[in-house]
């Protein structure tokens, strides 16, 4: 179906490639750079929107109006927030472990940006279409526990260290249900390729075929990015601000950016794997993708401003005794379902 404006970005990409004529190597290099810059720009803009949305949604749910001074109805507040964050002093406490302390926020954001490389932002708009896309997402995002624990350790502060330690326990526990919840979709599509998974959802979204997988994914992903109600890592009432207690100014800003980039990431993966990615009628693909991501972001914000924080033992109990069996049962059910389907329609599927 030809859609109005659906190929704007593809046309621009083709035009850039056209500039280099037959020199495909140069065109590839330039396109990679352009893709990286585009990912970064989209990420920063999305984070700005999400931060603003978070403040407004949280205010509305508490019967407040939220920021209302800068810009129309206060929606320009994010500019003030950013200027404030950039204008702050970059303070390094005396006894921190200098290099790990300085590198941790950069790695945290860098790892998050790396994952965006394999997400299909629209029809034919996958920056790098890896065959092992889902595998790559899981592998790289699992690394993000390291900068957190590095920041906690290098800060030389017991509260930061406690936050970092909790992050290891929490992220590793919830990694397993997260991986298993995505496995069901991979079993149906027989591929790890993100673009192929989106193509496979042309007629039916996988949220309908994999409702348990979707629920487990959303819960585990929220725990994975340390968002409330799973924000034990930065539980203010328990230990200051967790692993970023000792950070200020732009370094704190990097953690903040990475946190919302992670929110974007899990929403984008949910939209790609369960909600049909860029598939949708009338509107261009990248707009559908944006709408689905915004829906997921709103859902997660809704959870955050409704549910109270878990206790540590409840968190572990829930992860290992509820989510893990649930995701395993989902895999068994999916396997049986595929087997039955193949008995009824022989020759379809792998």
């Amino acid at each position: 179906m030809p859609q109005f404006g659906s190929d704007i970005f593809l046309l621009i990409a083709n035009w850039i490639r056209g500039l280099f004529g037959a020199n495909t190597y140069a065109a590839d290099v330039v396109m990679d750079i352009v893709k990286f810059i585009m990912i970064y720009v989209v990420l920063v803009l999305a984070v700005m929107v999400f931060v603003m949305l978070e403040r407004k949604v949280c205010a509305w749910m508490q019967l407040r109006v939220g920021p209302n001074r800068l810009g129309p109805r206060g929606w320009g507040q994010i500019i003030g927030d950013m200027i404030k964050l950039m204008g702050k002093e970059d303070f390094r406490p005396d006894n921190v472990d200098k290099w790990p302390w300085a590198l941790a926020p950069m790695f945290f954001l860098g790892i998050t940006i790396m994952v965006f490389a394999v997400l299909p932002f629209g029809r034919g708009m996958v920056p790098v279409d890896l065959d092992l896309g889902i595998f790559y997402i899981l592998a790289i995002s699992a690394l993000s526990v390291l900068p957190v624990v590095t920041a906690g350790w290098a800060s030389n502060n017991k509260y930061s260290l406690l936050g970092g330690m909790r992050s290891v326990a929490q992220m590793i526990s919830y990694e397993i249900p997260l991986v298993f919840s995505l496995l069901g979709v991979v079993m149906i599509t027989q591929t790890f390729k993100t673009s192929a998974i989106v193509e496979a959802q042309q007629h039916v979204w996988f949220v309908l075929l994999q409702p348990i997988g979707f629920v487990v994914y959303v819960i585990a992903a929220m725990a994975e990015i340390n968002r409330a109600p799973f924000d034990l890592i930065e539980a203010e009432s328990e230990f200051g601000c967790g692993y970023f207690t000792e950070y200020s100014g732009l370094r704190f800003g990097l953690f903040y950016l990475a946190e919302y980039a992670n929110l974007f990431l899990i929403s984008a993966v949910a939209a790609t794997v369960f909600l049909g990615g860029w598939q949708g009628p009338f509107l261009p693909g990248w707009l559908w993708f944006a709408i689905k991501v915004l829906f997921m972001v709103f859902l997660i914000m809704w959870f955050r401003w409704t549910f109270p924080r878990f206790r540590v033992d409840q968190l572990m109990h829930f992860g290992w005794k509820v989510l893990l069996p649930l995701s395993l049962a989902n895999i068994v059910l999916t396997g049986v379902g595929i087997y039955v389907y193949q008995l009824i329609f022989p020759g379809i599927g792998g």
Binding site: W60, V65, T306
Partner: protein, 140 residues
């Protein structure tokens, strides 16, 4: 059913998302305070007999009164200051006032930049208020 509470909670926050907001836009929109709010003091100078009961009643020594004698050898008020840095606006002075000259008022924007401005000259305040009312009458 397990998880029913979660859905109920989501329902409440979801409803609140669209409910009317209770925020008051303060500087543009002044709050309507109850009439007996004690947040500022006002002295009706002609009613005051300078008896000094208010100054005696005050637990924090906020009120300082100076008085003199007029031609009929009657006591008149010459100065009335309140150090509102110490004042709690408890209202004991207004209760003690036998001639009902001292009131509490609902005016609440009393913040000042300099410590000395916390010393309120109540007679000056009365005069400024009276002249303001005169102006209002002239204009009206």
């Amino acid at each position: 059913m397990f998880g029913k509470g979660l859905i109920k909670g989501l329902g409440i926050t979801g409803k609140h998302l669209f409910n009317r907001k209770v925020t008051e836009f303060y500087p543009e929109q002044k709050p309507v305070l109850p009439p007996r709010t004690r947040s500022s003091m006002y002295l009706d100078v002609p009613k005051c007999t300078a008896c000094g009961i208010c100054a005696n009643t005050c637990p924090n020594n906020v009120i300082t009164i100076t008085s003199g004698k007029d031609e009929n050898n009657k006591r008149v008020l010459t100065g009335y200051t309140m150090d509102t840095g110490r004042c709690l606006f408890c209202g004991l002075c207004t209760e003690a006032c036998p001639s009902k000259a001292l009131h509490t008022t609902t005016e609440f924007e009393n913040a000042v930049y300099v410590k000395d401005e916390l010393l309120w000259d109540m007679m000056k305040k009365y005069k400024a208020d009276a002249s303001k009312q005169e102006e209002g009458k002239d204009n009206g």
